[in-house]
Amino acid sequence: MLILQKFARDLPALVGLVIVVTVVTVAIVGPWIAPYPGDVVAAHLLQRLKPPSAAFPFGTDNLGRDLFSRVILGARGALEVALAVVALAGLIGVPLGLVAGYTHGWVSETIMRVTDVFLAIPQLVLALALAQLMTPSLETAMVALALTYWPFFTRLVFAETRRLGTSLFVDALRGIGAGGGRILFAHILPNAMSPVIVRATIGMGFTILVAAVLGFLGMGATPPAPDWGLTISESRNYLPDAWWYSTFPGLAILVTVLGFNLLGDGLRDLVDPRLRRSRR
């Protein structure tokens, strides 16, 4: 397969793929590979704030919990949030984009102007405001993030649908009796899927980052969840002495986001060679 060969030659994309696969694996098997799986809720006050050692590779936190275990256990939550947010945003954004792109007139205009309004406000600010309106919890953070991410899908799908909607194969389909819904969902959507997948991949990384920010600000996960952002937030009081406390969850966020972005960029290069970045 030519496309796989091309992908295999793209080193950053491969690195991204390896990172993503690793993170996903860790998220799935986390409870079995973490040295102290009970450290989600346990407390061992005698071992609090121990620096990295053979027993605790990433050190321990203020309650004596193994940070290595908590970083591993946090992967699942981070991925769940990212997946749920991107899926929800896609479910809202993609159909809206399809409808707006295929129709003309006030329906299309309304959808796109609302989209513009959402895009005009910085995503983090909007997510913070929404999260603040609802009672702070992981669920509200997810809803807030999804409500701020769907316009990106709408814009993207709108442009693709506009382009495809005037193509001859759509006219031909109408000419042989295909209805609007069938054309949109069975024919235009599959053609528009590749940029959506790219956007979703990059969105995964971005969502993990913003979810961590929300956790850090106390509007996301609640203690004692091993959330990366929340852990960094808790570590603030112990800096700079307990440097390991914030460093390792931070690195986990960094590497995961980097992985998704590299993979997403690599996929975009495959899908649309014209947009190839000047990377090499």
């Binding site: 193509s167 031909a172 000419g175 042989i176 009796g177």
Partner: protein
């Protein structure tokens, strides 16, 4: 004896653009007899494709039908809603062969999926079966059709994607798609324009055979009079959205009556001594005057031509000509 399957009467269509309202079709008028092939001929931009789109109800945005009727088997298609068109007419009773075979298939699906889909919409309970049994019946029909349109190895063709076929083969696929539900009428919008000459000939032969074999009626849109001479029983010449002359192909080609038809025939490389063409350009539909649209380019133009449209004159042979010169002939004769 006249048994019309498709009648287009005084069709007027305008498209709202940024620069104003373009009268794209102005008084289009023709009849397709059952079992015949009617060629609709005109230059680029004269509204040929718009006629086709008006018939199948797939109009560009901003298009509005001002007046007229499109009667298919006695029923005015313009009075039907989108649902009725989809359920009863498009694909089922009227097959459509689009212009460019390179662009007319969905690139992301296998050919078999796309062809079977058509049968699944339009014949959900055919072959008295359900589920897999019905699918097998549909598949059999598609393979049979592909064999009929001379697609090599039809079984394997179903498993391939559109880009794996050549232009001529794709046109065969589209013909098979148009015929899938055994329609009474097939509308072909310049089906051979995008193909090279040898492939074009094969496709024309195939279409002619299919018309005879399935008892089809066909509306064949083209700019090529040579193709018309070969394929069409009747001919309707369009200029700038107006029907200028129609009648039997052989009679018109032998002795064109309208000045435009005459000029068009004279341009054909086989006939013309030199490559001259018709001086001037097709007028913009934005600034259509009240008179004959061909008048500015017509060597026989009279002052009256710029002021009013001629009446469509029916000659004793049944031919219709839309020219002031012929009105005069008629009044002299009577």
């Amino acid at each position: 004896m006249s048994d019309a399957i498709l009648e287009v009467r005084d069709l007027r269509l305008s498209i709202a653009t940024d620069e104003g309202v373009a009268k794209v079709l102005d008084n289009i008028d023709f009849t397709l007899e059952r079992g015949h092939v009617l060629g609709v001929v005109g230059e680029s931009g004269c509204g040929k494709s718009t006629i086709v789109r008006a018939i199948i109800g797939v109009l560009p945005t901003g298009a509005r039908i001002g007046s007229g009727e499109i009667r298919f088997e006695g029923e005015n298609l313009l009075g039907l809603g989108e649902r009725a068109l989809n359920r009863r007419i498009r694909g089922r009773r009227i097959g459509f062969i689009p212009q460019d075979p390179y662009l007319a298939l969905n690139p992301v699906f296998k050919v078999g999926t796309q062809l079977l889909e058509i049968l699944r919409w339009h014949a959900p309970d055919a072959a008295d079966g359900r589920g897999s049994h019905r699918d097998r019946a549909h598949r059999g029909r598609i393979v049979q059709l592909l064999r009929r349109v001379q697609m090599p190895d039809p079984e394997a063709a179903l498993e391939r994607f559109p880009h794996q076929f050549s232009g001529g083969q794709r046109q065969r696929l589209l013909i098979a798609a148009a015929l899938a539900c055994s329609p009474a009428l097939v509308i072909a919008d310049e089906p051979t324009t995008a193909l090279d000459v040898t492939t074009q000939q094969q496709i024309l032969d195939l279409l002619r055979d299919l018309v005879d074999e399935f008892g089809l009626s066909m509306l064949f849109v083209t700019h090529d009079l040579g193709v018309v001479a070969e394929l069409c029983d009747d001919l309707c010449v369009i200029y700038a959205g107006q029907t200028v002359e129609r009648g039997h192909t052989a009679a018109i080609l032998a002795e064109p009556h309208h000045p435009y038809t005459r000029a068009l025939l004279a341009c054909h490389p086989d006939r013309a001594g030199s490559l001259t063409g018709i001086p001037g350009m097709v007028p913009s539909p934005l600034h259509a005057g009240p008179g004959c649209r061909f008048a500015p380019r017509c060597e026989h133009a009279r002052p009256v031509c710029a002021v009013r449209r001629p009446h469509l004159v029916r000659e004793p042979s049944g031919r219709l000509v839309d020219c002031v010169l012929h009105e005069r002939l008629e009044s002299l004769a009577s």
